[in-house]
Point group: C2
Chain length 420, copies 2
């Protein structure tokens, strides 16, 4: 594909990324480490659950015909606890004290809850409520039946799914392995986190912001540090990154400057470039390439641009490698509170804070100055407002699309119940 | 407070939880482990960033007066790379080749981008574009000024905040410590994950579903296993849980049955109960108590009820202990696709899947059977629809509130760009 000087449209670039990467191979992990991973096998139930009909209440297991007319006095044969086998079948005129989750005795077909009973003596009870067949009874196999496919490959192991795996007694589970991610910053102007302050340099924020974005997906990246603008050292650092990682993230070194050797060095190392520029702001100079052992994203040197590119392209790539079907961030609709000017030929992503109106609808307000070096704007943002190409600007009151960031997943409690 | 037989309203119970727990003490963690934690100190910038005025483009640093009329030929004094000190001040008729991020030489007050230039010879360039004062220049201190409070205590360490910490060169950061959480299941009917199959028992799903819910908050809980319905062993297990944990989660043993010793044992161990029942479904029998060393939630034995109670009460408690201000899950508004019947006297939480209509608005559809033992419903759910008390039911088309669960944070890519 060839696009104009502004580069690839955002959607075309995302499509390219998602068509290029595919889920990684399979490994076995213990159930205690499986949360957030993606199941790589279908799993069947090996038994019925519950294994037999059980009571859903504390009460009395009865023959429904015996309690068709109430009140009625019945003889109590035994007390049945959860996890214990009933000893006696019920004959006419008999019932059994039963606990929640305990198996029904033979002959019983319903349960009267304890609140509907009056104990008369040690082995006599008066039942005040009737029970139709199946009343307060969970039938055998209600949750699952032996042989049922209970979980399918591709299932995201959210907490509910981990509970189902425990129900299936899966101690080790086959999941897609996590991508190995390496992070390299480039540029002689960068100062390492543990280096002394140099008045000519700026701290390397990109390595750590990207690290945290990767960690938020459950992946622990390798930090390769800062490569200098010097061909031999740069080539060595890039070669190492390509060797150890499924996905190498390089930030900086992708502008038109003569000292940006990154692109040509990657090419020399066998990386085939899919695209090199995106018609978006921030994040215009974004490179995506592949080699025999994995993929490379060349991210802009400005921290905000780099983080926005991660959200839009790297995150979906990593989630696809992990086997997820849901690879992109959720978006919400919001009403814009302030007018904004946007780039007429590029999709613009504006950092916004989200609040609610009285009816609980989302409201979006820009975080303030949107310069791509102003990392505080990403610290404050709940989301990225996506302003389409060609708009040139948005007015207060416009309905906009907002890509939710990590901190939008939670809210303060003060609004809880406000909209009941 | 005294409420009717249905128990405490959901909002009153949440308020009680949030008024009872408060943020834990402070510890220092390395920046590489700080993501998701909450900052416990204000942090100031120790220097201006950028440390001096820098170019935002690759191009030529100029005196704006020299390029008031273009094209104009200027003498190139030097080439200034990012991270290097300029050697010469600009005199009239001079300019300097400059790279993105490089400091402006003395005398320069604007930048002409390289695309607006034509190199004539080794030290002569023709500039085709003019530059006003400050054009393509990032002023000194644009990102932050020495002494500015850049981050405040209470800040959630999302990836953007981790980047800002790196900018401040914070190698170790003071954060609220994470709560220690212990999980104990109770009930003779439960079978441990690694125990052989017993036809009278059911697998312990609660321990693992709760484990995963806790892990999703970045906390690794202690799994205390299954306590039997036997007073001495149960007391020992509960005492151990209270001793080691800031928050003990006990599931099962909170119904009215004679074999549910949990409540009285906790009381004997010094736990003061705040509430014992909530007017909600699922999750009615929920106990919350405190003792000198921490807090206890007594969760229902049914896995779905237990998970829903976690979402609504335990998650906010744990996030408050971690120091978060945003303690509750985000909610969205959705349109209900199917009528549902709900409990008239209790707030009902219905597991739903979320999709979108053509305009990108949320649609909610129940996951199917809503029995509180049907853990598959939590595996499939994107959210919990909150049906208020008194409604008795909701109609197709009603606008509803949906509490978002983990998997709703991401979406499939197919809809990307659909609503552009």
């Amino acid at each position: 594909m060839v696009f104009d000087e502004h580069g690839w449209p955002v959607d075309a670039a995302l499509r390219c990324v998602l068509e290029t990467v595919s889920p990684l191979g399979i490994e076995r992990v213990p159930l205690t480490r499986a949360r957030g991973r993606v199941l790589a096998e279908d799993l069947c139930a090996s038994r019925d659950l519950p294994p037999s009909a059980v009571s859903m209440m504390d009460g009395y297991a009865v023959r429904s015909t015996d309690v068709a007319t109430v009140p009625v006095g019945l003889a109590v044969t035994e007390e049945i606890c959860a996890g214990r086998q009933p000893r006696f079948a019920l004959a006419a005129g008999q019932c059994a004290r039963i606990m929640t989750g305990a198996p029904l005795p033979a002959g019983a077909d319903g349960v009267v809850r304890v609140e509907g009973s009056r104990r008369l003596s040690g082995d006599q009870v008066e039942l005040l409520e009737s029970a139709s067949i199946g009343h307060h009874v969970r039938p055998q196999g209600d949750s699952m039946r032996a042989g049922d496919v209970v979980m399918q490959a591709g299932c995201e192991l959210v907490p509910g799914a981990i509970g189902v795996l425990a129900t299936l007694k899966v101690v080790q589970v086959r999941v897609h392995r996590l991508p190995r991610v390496a992070i390299l910053s480039t540029g002689d102007e960068l100062e390492a986190l543990d280096a002394p302050v140099d008045p000519l340099k700026i701290p390397d924020a990109n390595s750590y912001a990207l690290m945290a974005q990767v960690q938020a997906l459950g992946i622990e990246p390798d930090l390769l540090g800062i490569a200098p603008d010097e061909p031999v050292a740069l080539q060595a650092a890039l070669a190492r990154g390509l060797e150890i990682a499924d996905v190498l993230l390089v930030s900086g070194g992708f502008s038109v400057g003569e000292h940006d050797y990154v692109q040509q060095t990657l090419q020399a190392l066998g990386v085939k470039q899919h695209f090199g520029r995106i018609a978006m702001r921030p994040g215009h100079p974004l490179m995506f390439g592949s080699h025999a052992g994995g993929h490379v994203f060349g991210l802009p040197g400005n921290p905000v641009s780099s983080m926005v590119c991660f959200e839009l392209f790297v995150l979906p790539a990593l989630r696809r490698l992990m086997g997820h079907r849901r690879v992109c961030r959720t978006e919400v609709r919001a009403r814009l509170l302030e007018p904004i000017r946007t780039h007429p030929q590029r999709t613009e992503f504006v950092r916004v804070r989200l609040t609610r109106d009285d009816e609980g609808r989302w409201l979006a307000r820009p975080t303030g100055a949107q310069g791509s070096a102003l990392l505080q704007s990403m610290m404050l943002a709940d989301g990225l407002l996506r302003a389409p190409v060609g708009a040139g600007g948005l007015a207060a009151g416009d309905e906009v699309r907002v890509h939710l960031l990590d901190q939008a997943v939670f809210r303060v409690a003060d609004t809880f119940g406000e909209h009941t």
